[in-house]
Amino acid sequence: MQTLREFTRKTKRGNILKIVREHYLRDDIGCGSELCRECFQNEVYQLTSQHANQSTLFKFPHYLVLDTNVVLDQIDVLEEDVLRNVVVLTTVLNEVKHRSSSIYKRFNEIVHDRTRNFYVFVNEHHKETYADREPDETANDRNDRAIRLATKWYDDHLQASQSSKEFERSGKAAMRVVLLTDDAANRAKAEAEGILVTTAAEYVKSLEDFPLLMDKLSHKTFDNEKNGLPQYPPHLSMKELLEGLRQNKLLQGPFQASRENYLEGSVSVEKFEKAILIQGRESLNRAVDGDLVAVELLPESEWSAPSEIVLEEKNVYADEVPSEEKAKDEYDMLKQVRAAASSAERTPTGRIVGIVRRKWRQYCGILQPSLIEDTNRHIFVPADRKIPRIRIETRQAAKLQNQRIIVTIDTWPRNSRYPHGHFVRSLGPLGDTATENEVILLEHDVPHCKFSDEVLSFLPKMPWTITDQDYSKRVDLRDLFICSVDPPGCTDIDDALHCRELPNGNLEVGVHIADVSHFIRPGNALDMEAAARGTTVYLVGKRIDMVPELLSSNLCSLVGGVERFAFSCVWEVDNEANVLSKRFHKSVIKSKRAMTYEEAQSIIDDATQQNEIAKSLRHLNRLAKILKKRRMDNGALVLASPEIRFQVDSETHEPLEVEVKQMRETNSMVEEFMLLANITVAEHIATEFSECAVLRRHPRPPPTNFDPLVKSARYQGFQVNIESGLELSHSLDKCVKADNPYFNTMIRILTTRCMMQAVYFISGSLQKDEFFHYGLAAPIYTHFTSPIRRYSDIMVHRLLAASIGADSTYAQLLDRKSNEELCHNLNYRHKMAQYAGRASVALNTHLFFRGKEEDEEGYVLFVRKNALQVLIPKYGLEGTLYLKTDKDGKDGLERVKSEIVFTFNEEDHTQRCGDVVFHSFDPVTVRLSLDSSNVQHEKLIFRLVKPYIKGFSVETTSKGTEGQAVAAAPPSKKSKKDKKKK
């Protein structure tokens, strides 16, 4: 069914080429309507007469055609399961794809939902609906015309099908087609052509059954602000931007808002080593964190330095116009900063002149309580401090008042202090653990919805049994004394170990990893889902699995006493832990015992235990120590990061106790063998698949990264040598202070922060000497040992299995490009999972301190201009102890402000107040309490207890009364404020 008409299409690109392409127009494209009797339909009808849209504007059955702007702006409305029977034109689909890939993705999901009755009509290749671009017509106009043409055709086409006498007799109202567009010009033209047309807003208003849908409409204009004064300089047009960028007058880069100071941000530009600083509301010029912006560099005389000041936005109400006085404050701040900036530390400063591409997404947060009752306009406060407040309209403010909600930005006009947005959905009541977890997951883009039925359909059928065929393919290791060692409460056990003496006096060591790739076959829905998730995410008291629970906690988990499939890596080693030979094979194992680190440790230590497991563990432990020493001699780094565990109440999910993760010998024992297995496998797959092996590398950090570490150490009289990993490791070992036992750990914490992220990559994409893993001092490394919780390991398993002939290969496995994309996603997911985990710990720390007040020993980690960064080892907690307070005064401290003056010495980074001097690493005692005055950002308040500074420190002696008084101060102040407001 190929038409013989041929059209050509010309496009220009680069150095102006005329490109001629064939464009076939067809007569076999169906309209997808069940009413149609003419079209050649090769599919199930998508457009039905059921689920008709009930609109008061069009009181007859109708299908909808959407214009591109409706899809782009009103995606939240479309995502609600309200609009049905929608014709999606490929013109629109292509335009959406071109304009925003994220919206395209969301829209595609709607289109694929068969219950929604969205039908994709390939109007571009239909011989009746193709619109050839006319001379002097812009691409946009042509697309608009194509959309109108298709709408018109649909309408006529359906009329023709419904004009039969039979149909007239049935007495039904005829199906029509309605075009939704927010483009006034397009609407006018459509009306002139006799097409039923309306705007998205009017149409949604006319849906009487769904009044709340109105909230989700995106507004481009807010009525009362049309005549407001411009508060921001205008943005340059796209053309001017491109011209400026081409002539190097402007610089382009992603904008990063400062977390601490809402009037400050930076743009990292390729040409500059340091990011370009942006200060002040006008210079920021409506950029939102993440946007790709164009920056104009200020002349060097106007350059400034980062303020190092923590500045938070004050509450402004929806109807309040920011007073000039307040704005003045901000400028004063800026002036001060600029004046104070000594020429030495000035950094390139610029102002944002245009936005190349917005990276707006959905934001979690809460509604700010409104002063006026019954108003529809509200201010939304995002949870992420880098995001400005957003103005929204909603009718359900009362209901949403104490809920976490999601909002997206629609536009940011010049005359509005804040961007305009609209309500998307509510997550649940504030402070509820489930809601807060949801916020963390959303903010970190962690896919966490339930596994779909399609995904679950690829799970093995229960009861699952091992067949004879399975046994014949695998090496039977059920008789070996294999055991696993994991943290307490671990249900996804993916590794187990064994060690036995060989007749020739050598030892055989085996690492057995859960054979997840046996259950997850490449390319099916289960595999795709796991690949998309990339990793299991651990929150406090909650685990978001990468693979369904049946696999993660049951079939793949190497629990004790049960037969399980494993992928084994077995070495023969001599008593000095030299590897003599290695082999890989799939196996069936039966773990003799699943132990915790503690249990394993006590078995090793208890000399009376002489059974096979105890012997095996002792051998392993001895070998691990040799391996570790060898690794250290090679220059592997021992890094530290404060890690804590929460004991969570199983019912209320509230944290009961905090403990710092303990390191036992057995932890290190398991770790050593996992490292050995990973390295052995990495070497193997890199030789077998030189182009497409999935490996992991840890780049050496650039020397400048170490600056803060080297400086801090120097103040303490230690020289940190960063020439090589080995020297760094040695010099770190030497950083020991007799009077400060925690000093070495702190130095290591600082070192950790200098490091780069370790990343997955494909062997073919880099030179061999770049494979290096800096932290482990290994020339090559990969992840093999945790396939239950990491997708990279599944890939490595598949590669390894293919190389030993245990499994078949498939196209994607050996495709470098698709593997590269996969690695990219894994790196991203991995990073986000880490951040989400940390956010969860922070959340639970807050829950833990709710209503508590404790004095704790801590250490100064950094000295800042107006604060001390304090680390509490007991909780692995880091926080800021403010030394100067801003004008509003926090925590009732403003009364002491005038009396106590801290002087900051930039030379040696100290803060001095009278006789008391704070250096980095000094021990301090601080009192911790939770400030809940801002419900969204509960924060821990650090107050100084020791060393004692009169008028500033909290009194230690009268802890009971004074502490309470201070703690009571903020709420009382707040209530006063509240009264004033009313």
Binding site: E22, H23, L25, R26, T90
Partner: protein
């Protein structure tokens, strides 16, 4: 570059609106020139090729076998960027070898000892699958020259979309934006493959289906060319009552 677009939309249409198994439109004409012994002009979509055949004539030197000599060239104006292409560039030489290889499988060379057959192919417009179109044009020119062939030798390309559906007759746009390309030159009736070339590796699981797709394309092209030859003969023969013999 590869994988920038998916070659097949979810609605089952390719970038230019074809379905996976559809060829581009083919137009051809035999006997376009008088000077050579045989000539043909062939369009497959926007790829346009001219072929001329001289011979059989006496071979130079002491050849006992027949000699098949090809020349492949591309017109300066054939691509969007006008490049001067001297005849000796690597790609032309490569294609020349491939043409000789495929054509010698079709020509009944035992009938032409000590003779030489010269085949000249010029690509006038390049829109992908140049080799395949050049070979098809050469076949037509050989037929026009009255040279004995075992059967039609035709070539067709095929590729694979991301969803692993094989595609026939790849256009230039699909070549640059997509996956691997396979070219098959075959004797369709005998089901013999004379020549096979891959631009990139296919996975072994898919290779067979892709070859089968290309073969199906070859058969279809053969039918079209055969019809064109018959048409041409009828036209020629009508001058000498040949049509009535039919």
């Amino acid at each position: 570059m590869a994988g920038k677009y998916d070659l097949l939309s979810e609605q089952g249409l390719r970038l230019d609106g074809r379905r996976p198994h559809e060829l581009r439109r083919i137009k051809c004409k035999l006997g376009v020139f008088e000077q050579p012994d045989g000539s043909a002009y062939l369009e497959q979509g926007n790829t346009k090729v001219l072929a001329a055949v001289y011979g059989p004539h006496q071979a130079k030197g002491n050849q006992t076998e027949s000699v098949i000599n090809c020349q492949y060239s591309q017109a300066t104006f054939s691509t969007a960027e006008r490049k001067n292409r001297p005849r000796g560039d690597r790609k032309s030489l490569e294609f020349k070898m491939y043409l000789q290889q495929a054509l010698s499988a079709a020509i009944k060379s035992e009938l032409y000892p000590r003779s030489q057959i010269d085949i000249y192919v010029e690509v006038l417009q390049d829109d992908g699958a140049n080799y395949a179109v050049a070979l098809n044009a050469a076949t037509l020119a050989l037929i026009d020259a009255g040279i004995c062939l075992n059967e039609f030798i035709v070539a067709c390309t095929a590729s694979l979309s991301k969803s692993n559906i094989p595609l026939t007759d790849i256009s230039q746009f699909e070549e640059v934006s997509g996956g691997p390309k396979l070219t098959v030159a075959a004797l369709p009736t005998a089901e013999k493959i004379a020549f096979l070339e891959m631009s990139e590796r296919f996975h072994i699981d898919h290779l067979e289906t892709v070859i089968e797709t290309a073969m199906a394309g070859c058969r279809e092209i053969r039918d079209i060319l055969e019809a064109a030859v018959k048409e041409h003969l009828l036209h020629m023969g009508s001058a000498s009552d040949f049509a009535k013999v039919g």
